[in-house]
Symmetry: C2
Subunit: 295 residues, 2 copies
DNA sequence: TCCCGATCATCAAATTTCGTGATGGAGAAG
DNA sequence: CTTCTCCATCACGAAATTTGATGATCGGGA
């Protein structure tokens, strides 16, 4: 036989990878910094490879660390799933949960209702805001757990889904042919940056015709032919026309959806919600995105 | 936080589920029987549910045990995968590996060559035989690890793939229209049973026209219109015509492909090969595979 | 029916493992 | 240059686990 790895070590390892710090990770897993340090030491000894490169201030994953991370995450997800199955609805408490409003409309109702069914005693207090504001609110301690779009903001979070971004216009509308191109998007929307960058690259003139932090407002701006918008796949609505990529406008970068938690929001009800969300809408789950054996 | 489960306990748990015995499981995981017993006790305490029902002689999974087994197996698979990635070809030894010859033809070469690439120091000694004989050879200690088709033989193994079974005939042949229906199959082929049963059910007369333990021979019997055969999806060959189900012949039961190991063949190189096979050709990976409580 | 063999649970002792708090060194910021 | 933060390390003590022995239970064979 060979004794299996220690999930506790892997949890610490993932925590470090997520937040880039031993000290912070230690807080998250309720241990002292030295305990975490030794766990990693043992893990590295066990696997015979350096997993984390400590260059002075910053802690980063090595190639091997990368390969491990993806798999460790999968294991921890399953672990959370098990704990979830066995906590027969006896979990209770409340969670202050934030989500960008474009997701709220479509995906959220089904996800939360099925969660409510399995965890009737957990009250989920939902607030919808743009990602930027969610992150801000998180910093101020107003959320326990948020789903947000990892954009330019270099915030760490556990990524669990990528989403195609599309340029959309109304059916039969003129907006696309207008010069300069009228575009619509959230003011702080982290996708705007990519959209603008893409437009600059192809030298297309544009103007921001409409801005709102409310996704519904953007959608209606598009539907009424006020402007061309850029939306994630799951926010597309009937009546919208997706603009073929490379035809008029180049393809946008995929959006990366991640979960972020307050430092106290680990384990118990928080894991239950997080794993439920990941299981329901995660899409990069299956195999690991990347690396096989390193070099 | 909440400390994750102990993979070591889960390993013992799965071992028990696989072989239906604490004592035997203890041997497999290199522990004493009492250690295993206490591990399960702790695991059950931790999850707050009975996982194994001990009715006198027999040990069986409870409903909760069932739910756990599938997930624990997934975790252990990932664990093996990790160990595999990190054992940089420093694993060495030889494995006596058996596989039914119908699989050997198509899938085996690619699987084994990629295995050879990542584990150059492991010598895989392949022998091809029908499942029945593989099981027999396993009992006699002639194999370390086999892939076989779980049929009527109530042998426990870790199932990792199901395969559609098809009735096949040659293109433009007469065999299908012949009365009684001439069929071809391995003598001890565990699928034959199902095929015959299906024919009896619809009252179709048949005769066994051709029998051989060599899959190639069966295939050529079909191709030369000597008989109608029944083959797994991955043994289909160009020139064969799949008979639409429910038209002339009812659908066959899916074949269940499983891995079985000798009692010493756990850990190290054996895990490496087993996890490679499962990763390469497993198809019921994602969600749970079935637990195989052996009575 | 009675005994034997095998199986699983339990116990206390021994051992191993693990976490803690303190300490030290190294790098970054002021 | 000093100070702060961060990670590694150490020795000690606590906790968890394994062990070997023992007991209880169940089936099979005589």
């Amino acid at each position: 036989m060979t004794t299996p790895l220690d999930l506790d070590q892997l949890q610490s390892f993932c925590a470090i990878a997520d937040c880039g710090s031993f000290t912070e990770a230690a807080r998250r897993v309720n241990k002292t910094q030295s305990a975490v340090s030794m766990q990693i030491k043992r893990l590295e000894e066990r696997l015979g490879q350096a997993l984390l490169s400590r260059d002075g201030r910053t802690v980063a994953l090595t190639e091997y660390g990368d390969a491990l991370y993806a798999r460790a995450r999968r294991m921890l997800r399953i672990n959370a799933e098990i704990m979830d199955v066995f906590s027969d609805g006896d979990l209770k408490g409340s969670i202050r949960f934030g989500v960008p409003d474009d997701y709220a409309v479509r995906l959220l109702p089904v996800i939360l209702s099925s969660f409510q069914r399995t965890h009737p005693k957990i009250v989920v207090d939902v607030r919808c805001q743009p990602s930027e504001e969610l992150l801000d609110g998180m910093k101020k301690g107003r959320y326990d757990l948020i789903v947000f779009t990892q954009g330019t903001n270099h915030e760490y979070g556990e990524m669990f889904r990528t989403e195609r971004m599309f340029w959309v216009a109304s059916h039969g509308g003129q907006a696309l042919a207008t010069e300069p191109l009228p575009i619509a998007g959230g003011l702080h929307c982290c996708w705007k940056e990519n959209a603008v960058e893409v437009l600059n690259r192809i030298g297309r003139d544009y103007r921001i015709a409409y801005t709102s932090s409310n996704a519904m407002a953007i959608a209606s701006a598009v539907l009424t032919d006020l402007a061309v918008g850029f939306l994630p796949e799951s926010a597309l609505q009937p009546g919208m026309r997706v603009i073929a990529e490379d035809k008029d406008l180049p393809r946008l970068r995929d959006a990366e959806i991640a979960i972020m938690r307050a430092s106290h929001a680990y384990g118990g009800i928080y894991d239950a919600l997080a794993s439920h969300i990941v299981a329901s809408m995660g899409n990069l789950d299956g195999k690991d995105s990347l690396p096989m054996a390193a070099e």
